[in-house]
Symmetry: C2
Subunit: 387 residues, 2 copies
C-alpha cells in the first residue's frame, strides 16, 4: 500500500503504533508498521538507552519518538528554581493520602513518612519529580528531542500544543519530519503554521489526551483544512475495518495506541491488563484526574473519586496533577498486584473506547498482521458492494 | 450499489434520511435514497395527513416512519387518568418562567397568564400536552404505527427502547421490516431478540438521543454482535467519505439526520438554521435539558442554564421535560425570529457534530447526489491506494 505517508516514513503499510514500551515499538516496526516511543516518562539518559536498544532490534527499520508539549502548564514548571512538589496544595496532598487510606493501599515510598502526599524537594525523588514535571515544557521536551535526533529516528511527534520553532528547526536540519496531534480543525491549522509536516487528527474516542470531536467528524475536516499536508487518523482505530474507514475519511494512514496495551510485548501490569481485557467500550471516561488535562482512561475508583466525590479538590493544572497522581498510581498498581481489592478498584490506565474490542493477549506482530489482512478484506468488500 | 439493505428497502443507494419534515422525506426518497419521517411530534390524525402528502409526492417510491419508545418514562405517562402537566414540579415551572423573563422572551400562549410554566390540564393545550406526552409510551407509539401501516411504508423505526412485541407483530403482518436504533452492543442484542430486522448503530457524535460510544468504535462491534442482521451506521455521517467509512466498518448503509436540517426543504426556523450554519463541531453538547434523556444538540443559553446554572433544578424524566421545554422553546424561536437577542441566545436544536460541515443551504436532492458522488470517489481512492 502506498500513500505519501508510507513514502515519508519509509514503510510498507501506514500503521503507526504509539507506545511507551520499547518492545512494542520494535515489534511493530519489525512487522512493517511504524513504532513511535512515547518519551515523556523518560529522562534524557534513560531515553538514550531505550532508543539504543530499539536501534539494535530494528536494524535500520524506521521508528519515531513522541514528546508531550501542552500549550499551557502551571507557572511553577516554567521557573527552573521552583520546587514543583511544593506547588501542590495541601488539600490535594490530603485528598490523595485519604484515597490511599480509604482503599487500603499504603503510602508510596517517595512520600515523607510523617507528612502529605508528595516527594520532598531535597530528596532524590523530589528532584526526579521536578525533572519529570519539566519534561512537558518546551525546554524539557527539547532535551528529549536532542537525544532522539542522535538516533536514526524518522519522525518526531508532538502532542497537545504546537511544536516550538526550535524543535521544528532542529528536526528539519536532521531531515526528520515533525508530526503534531490535534483534536480540532483550528489546532490543525495552527500546527501546520508552526511547521508540522504531518497532522495526526485524533478523535474523542482515543485514549490519553483527547478532544471532544469524534474521529468520523474530525478527520475529513482536518484533511480539507490542511491539504496537501498528509493526515493520520487516530482514535477508534484498532482493526482493519477501522483502518479502512479512516483511509476512506481521507487520511493517509492511522495512529493507534490502545490496541498495543494488551499485546504480549506491552509492560502493562497484569492487574491493569486484566481490567482492560474485561472492559467494554462504555468503561472509559475523559477526565483530568491523572494529568490535569482531559485524557481518556479506564473508569475506576480513582476517576470516580476525583470527578464525583464531594470532598474532591478537583484536578491541578499540568504537570502538578501528574506529579501528584503518578507516584500514587504506581503504588496502587503494586498493591493491586499484591492482591489488594481496594487498590484493584483504583487502578486504571489511559485507553480509548476500542478497549471493548481488546479481548485477548497477542504478540504485537500478530496484531499488525490481523489489521493488514482485515484492511485488505474491508477494501475488497467495499469495492464489491459498490459494483 | 447493492447491499441487503438496498434489497430490503427497495432502494438504489443505502442512504436513509431521518427528518421531522415531510418535504425532506419526499425529496430524499425521490432522489434515490430512503426518507424516514420522525412521527413523534404528530397526533395520529396529523401523521395520517403528512403521510398522505408524502404518498402523493413519492408515487410508490419507498419511505419509512420513526417512533420514539423510551425503555423508561415517568410513571404519570403510563397512567391515562394522570394530567402530565400537573406532574411537573413547581421548581421546574419557575425555572423556565425565570429563563423566559431573564432572556426577555415573553410567556408561551399556552401558559396560564397568572401561573407557572405549563398548560393547565382543562385547556385544549393541556389536553394536547397530555396526548403528546403519551406518544412516547408503547400505547401512544402503537397509535402512530397503526396509522403508518395504512400507508405504503417500507420501514418502521423505533428509537430508544426495544420495539414492543405488538409493534413487531403488526409490522410483520403488514410485511414491513422494523429497525431499531442502538448506542451499545448490549442494546443491539436486546433489540434483535425483540424482533428488530435492521439495527441502526448510532455513535455519540449523532444529533438527538444518543449514547457515549463513537460510530467508529460502535459499528464494527454491533455488526459482529448481531450478524447476519444488517446494520445501518448513524452519527457523524453527512458526506460521501463518511458514508464510505461507515460501509468500511461493516455497515450496509447509513442513517443521516443532521445534514437535512440546512436543506432548502427543511422547516428549520431561519434563526436556528443560521446558528447551525455558523456552528463548528465543538458547538454541540449531549444534554438532558430538552427531552429528559441525553440528546446531542446545539450549545445555547438553554443548555448552559439547565446544565450549569446553580439555580437549575436539573431536567425532569421523559416525557415531562419535553412537555416543559417544547412550548417554551417554540416561544423562544418566535421571539428570536422577531429579533429578540436573548431569545436568539436560548434557541437551539438537536444536531450532531457534523454541524461543523453544514455550511450552506442546498436542496436535499443535491445533498443526496453530492453524497453519492463523493462516496464513489472515496471508494475509488481507497482501491487505488491499496494497489
Amino acid at each position: 500500500m502506498r500513500t505519501r505517508l508510507t513514502e515519508l516514513l519509509g514503510i510498507e503499510f501506514p500503521l503507526v503504533a504509539f507506545s511507551h514500551c520499547r518492545d512494542v515499538v520494535a515489534a511493530v516496526t519489525n512487522a512493517g508498521g511504524f513504532g513511535v516511543l512515547g518519551a515523556v516518562a523518560y529522562s534524557p539518559a534513560r531515553l538514550d538507552r531505550e532508543l539504543s536498544w530499539i536501534d539494535e532490534q530494528v536494524r535500520g527499520r524506521p521508528y519515531g519518538v513522541d514528546v508531550l508539549l501542552p500549550g499551557r502548564v502551571d507557572a511553577a514548571a516554567a521557573d527552573p528554581a521552583a520546587r514543583l512538589g511544593e506547588a501542590i496544595p495541601d488539600a490535594h496532598r490530603d485528598f490523595v493520602a485519604h484515597l490511599m487510606r480509604k482503599y487500603d493501599v499504603g503510602r508510596p515510598d517517595i512520600w515523607p513518612p510523617d507528612g502529605g502526599a508528595w516527594a520532598p524537594p531535597t530528596t532524590a525523588a523530589g528532584r526526579a519529580a521536578d525533572e519529570a514535571g519539566r519534561r512537558v515544557t518546551a525546554a524539557g521536551a527539547m532535551g528529549l528531542v536532542d537525544v532522539a535526533l542522535k538516533h536514526p529516528v524518522r519522525l518526531i511527534a508532538s502532542a497537545l500544543g504546537p511544536p516550538p520553532p526550535e524543535m521544528v528547526d532542529r528536526a528539519r536540519s536532521a531531515g526528520v519530519p515533525v508530526a503534531a496531534l490535534v483534536g480540532t480543525v483550528e489546532h490543525a491549522r495552527r500546527q501546520v503554521a508552526a511547521g508540522a509536516d504531518v497532522v495526526v487528527a485524533q478523535g474523542t474516542e482515543a485514549g490519553g489526551h483527547t478532544g471532544e470531536i469524534s474521529t468520523m467528524v474530525l478527520v475529513p475536516q482536518v484533511v480539507d483544512a490542511v491539504a496537501p499536508v498528509p493526515v493520520l487518523a487516530a482514535g477508534g482505530v484498532a482493526s482493519g475495518r477501522q483502518m479502512a474507514a479512516a483511509i476512506a475519511l481521507g487520511a493517509e494512514g492511522v495512529w493507534c495506541g490502545s490496541v498495543w496495551l494488551t499485546t504480549e510485548e506491552a509492560e502493562t501490569p497484569p492487574v491493569v491488563r486484566d481490567k482492560l481485557l474485561a472492559a467494554t467500550s462504555l468503561d472509559t471516561v475523559r477526565s483530568r484526574c491523572r494529568t490535569g488535562k482531559p485524557a481518556r482512561q479506564l473508569k475506576s475508583a480513582w476517576t470516580e473519586e476525583w470527578d464525583e466525590a464531594t470532598e474532591s479538590p478537583g484536578p491541578l493544572p499540568m504537570p502538578l496533577q501528574m506529579l501528584l497522581a503518578e507516584p500514587a498510581l504506581a503504588r496502587v498498581v503494586r498493591a493491586a498486584e499484591a492482591g489488594g481489592e481496594g487498590a484493584r478498584d483504583l487502578a486504571n490506565y489511559f485507553v480509548g473506547q476500542v478497549v471493548g474490542q481488546m479481548n485477548q493477549v497477542r504478540p504485537a506482530r500478530e496484531v499488525v498482521y490481523a489489521i493488514v489482512s482485515e484492511y485488505v478484506e474491508a477494501v475488497a468488500r467495499l469495492s464489491r458492494l459498490s459494483g
